[in-house]
Point group: C2
Chain length 225, copies 2
DNA sequence: TAGATTGTTAATCGATTAACAATC
DNA sequence: TAGATTGTTAATCGATTAACAATC
């Protein structure tokens, strides 16, 4: 149904466009040119126009783009108005944070079940929802047919749980457990999130700075102006 | 100090190599060829060799790579043995999860202070550390000189706090607050993390699936071939 | 209309892959 | 030595940028 085949690089930029346009809309800004937007986002106007034109001509020559209309278009492309039935497994620190911190409706998702294997956690309420024991997961899936699963379980547990969930009809995984998840069946979508990987790029950057800057050290008493 | 200038694409892959090599080492595997590793990681052997050779020739013809030695090399490139002084601001759900869930020593970081503006949170202990009130942040920075700050504060607060931290000597930000952080001074490193953006790529994928698969829809009695 | 800015094509750039000589 | 696999160069591919005609 999509025009041809959209490159992953483009797709990964869509949420960011959506976010920025939302902020502009909140500020009451009605129209914006690709040039202005590019400056705010730190990219080229060409790229913005190129990206958007993968999906259609949302702008108007001589005018630019209508902020709200464009935002809505991108939201629709992303599928934000959907209600993807979503479960979350593992309510340790991270699972709890995800459950309460992420706005699922804004992501086209509906959180329909929380699961944990710890009997002291199962039974509790988190983010206004009851936590079920993982023993009940199979029955739950037969009844509720979730299509997206968020994994916040310890590393070793993840592959096994994921496998069984695929058999129960889950088609997408947002995986926070250490260790990447991969499926032979390329129809199963996986988004492996490794927060530490992101932090490590900063560590790398700090380790290797000095670059082309004149590297002002604080012991540098009278640096030339 | 680095050979020439390493591309960000390469740098972003380093933590993943490090992770995989760590798992192999745990399994007691001593040597691995770029081909074997590429199959496990879902990439080409060429890319692995190309990436590694940005930093040096860590392999041996006819043999491959020594798992532990290569892992250590990459760890060193990333700066994992460092102790970057790190503070975390904002101990809501996400801040708490980061504080307790991320292994800072493994990322070359040392968490030296937690801060929150909520007086009911300041004073508490989280992840074995006392939470200070943000009012004490300036004094703390003068004394302790953190170089990395993790921002888990509400969106509107982030830019102001970040600005003041730059003046206090912070040179890198791991930003979880909604809204991107950017500095004119390119020497300030920023890693904007938007979990929702990651989730949205799954939403997009689910919305647009059908791709080149034979797309068996259940209501599809006899669609034209 | 004239000015502005898009949509789109062509040019450039960078990143990935393939190939192979070097060498362990 | 023969076999294997690297390090590295060259070829390909894809993504980004520049340019400009179309058009509001």
């Amino acid at each position: 149904m999509s025009k041809q085949e959209i490159s992953p690089s483009v797709i990964r930029r869509l949420p960011r466009y959506h976010r920025f346009l939302g902020e502009l809309a909140e500020q009451g800004i009605v129209r914006i040119s690709s040039k202005e937007l590019s400056q705010q986002m730190g990219m080229t106007a060409s790229q913005i126009r190129q990206d958007l034109n993968c999906f259609g001509g949302f702008g108007q020559q001589g005018y630019g783009y209508n902020v709200c209309a464009l935002r809505d278009e991108i939201g629709q492309i992303l599928g934000i108005s959907g209600r993807r039935r979503t479960i979350l497994i593992g309510l340790g620190n991270l699972g709890r944070a995800i459950a309460s911190h992420v706005s699922f409706p804004d992501c086209g998702c509906e959180l329909i079940g929380l699961f944990d294997s710890n009997p002291f956690v199962a039974g509790k309420d988190i983010a206004g929802m009851p936590v079920h024991h993982t023993d009940t997961l199979t029955g739950f899936c037969h009844q509720e047919h979730p299509e997206l699963a968020i994994l916040c379980v310890p590393e070793n547990a993840a592959p096994r749980i994921a496998q069984s969930l695929v058999l129960l009809g889950v088609r997408a995984f947002w995986n926070f457990s250490h260790g990447d998840l991969r499926f032979e069946d390329s129809a199963i979508l996986v988004e492996n999130v490794h927060l530490a990987d992101s932090l490590l790029t900063l560590t790398y950057g700090l380790e290797h700075e000095s670059r082309n800057e004149s590297a002002p050290s604080d012991a540098d008493s009278d640096k030339s102006k």
